[in-house]
Amino acid sequence: MMETLELASVVLQDGSGGISGQAAAAIAVGLGALGTGYAQSRIGAAAVGAVAEDDDMFVPGLIFTALPETLIIIAFVTIFLV
């Protein structure tokens, strides 16, 4: 039991093996961006379809397409936290 704890404390120590904090932040931002892209592709397709039928849907379409943007913006914050 003791050994496991020791091992864990070694692994979790800053800079000891694994990846650096900055690299982890980079991965977080990158994954966030992927998620945003995936969500926007599908919402964007639906929005374009709706606008094609009815011009008044342009503004709601734009808003809904921009909503997943929040994902990447929040992921972006991690950069300043490390």
Partner: protein
């Protein structure tokens, strides 16, 4: 025969467009206005709506109620062709399979045209140019001089073999019923081609569920019609495969006893959806009311499915059904007014949800 398209389905785009179009269909208010109009007013009303282009394009050649009817058909074909243009991947296949309904319609129109010796031009205007058949094939159907020629032209399609088989029945009895049934059954047997029995609650599963309901309703309606008409026809012969409610043997027994049939349906999975329809049947004792109620139930069922699973083929099917209904409703109004029916009588013919 099969049009295979690459890539994945674009459900988002297609359902957004389809939902928007569905909302623009005539609503109850429009129908209330329509049933109170004279035929000429109906034509003028249509020119100010969705049907403007078609009304103007056909206005020089036709007039009155005919004009309304042809404009409706042409508009329907335009919208359904749009669906096929938008859709990609498996979604396209589903839609094509469903729109074969109009191939079936076109085949029946051609066969009836030949049977009644109608002029090619008259047949031509009655075609609905959407679905899987290319224009060239439709033109060949129109020009066919005999039923054999029609069957010949269709030999490479799904309707070829069933038509050829039904030919002997047609020749011995001299009525069109065997041929038309062959066409309908060819359509329904191939409807489920793409599906298989797939995962419940997936888009494919729901689509399968809906198709099953449609086939069940059709079997039910056929059985009732046969039971009512008292004709000496074996209902099992007109049974359409793929439904979950009846098998041919059951259908044969139930068709002779309407009460038992009603009980059976009430106890089935459709009991809730068809409750109003069954009451109508029991109370008014009229098939017309029951059939309207069946149609309404199917429409409601399709809308329910399209809300339960928005990213699937269900919204498209729901739109296709609603649009077909609208076309049939407007036609009923126009024809009814032309024949001088009362407002109430026409309203009884409409299916509005």
């Amino acid at each position: 025969m099969k049009v295979r398209t690459e890539g994945s389905s674009n459900y988002e785009y297609v359902s957004a467009r389809v939902r928007s179009r569905k909302r623009k269909l005539f609503d109850e208010d429009d129908y209330r206005k329509l049933v109170r109009m004279e035929p000429s007013e109906i034509a003028r009303f249509m020119e100010e709506t969705e049907y403007e282009t078609e009304m103007n394009a056909l206005g020089t050649r036709h007039s009155g109620v005919d004009l309304v009817e042809y404009a409706l058909n042409r508009n329907l074909a335009k919208h359904f062709d749009d669906l096929l243009t938008w859709a990609e991947g498996p979604l396209y296949d589903y839609i094509v399979n469903y729109l074969r309904k109009f191939d079936a319609w076109n085949v029946k129109t051609a066969v009836r045209g030949v049977y009644t010796d109608a002029a090619a031009e008259a047949v031509e205007t009655d075609l609905i140019r959407t679905g899987e058949f290319p224009d060239r094939l439709l033109d060949r159907l129109v020009e066919a001089g005999s039923i054999e020629e029609v069957a010949e032209a269709l030999s490479t399609t799904i309707f070829g073999d069933p038509l050829a088989e039904a030919m002997s029945d047609f020749e011995s009895e001299g009525v069109l019923v065997p041929l038309e049934n062959a066409v309908d059954r060819a359509f329904y047997t191939h409807l489920m081609d793409e599906l298989g029995r797939s995962v419940p609650n997936s888009p494919e599963g729901l689509y399968g569920e809906f198709l099953e309901a449609e086939i069940d309703f059709r079997n039910l309606r056929n059985a009732l019609r046969i039971a009512r008409s008292g004709a000496d026809i074996d209902p099992a012969e007109y049974h359409i495969e793929g439904g979950g409610l009846f098998d041919p043997e059951e259908l044969r027994q139930l068709a002779t006893n309407v009460d038992e049939l009603v009980e059976r349906v009430r106890a089935s999975t459709y009991g809730d959806e068809l409750a109003t329809a069954l009451e109508e049947l029991a109370a008014a004792d009229s098939l017309v009311g029951f059939e309207r109620a069946l149609e309404t139930a199917l429409l409601e069922y399709s809308s329910k499915l399209s809300n339960r699973y928005p990213l699937s083929v269900c919204p498209v099917i729901s739109y296709v059904l609603a649009k077909e209904r609208e076309v049939e409703n407007v036609r009923a109004v126009a024809r009814g007014r032309e024949a001088g029916l009362d407002v109430e009588e026409i309203e009884a013919e409409l299916v509005i949800i």
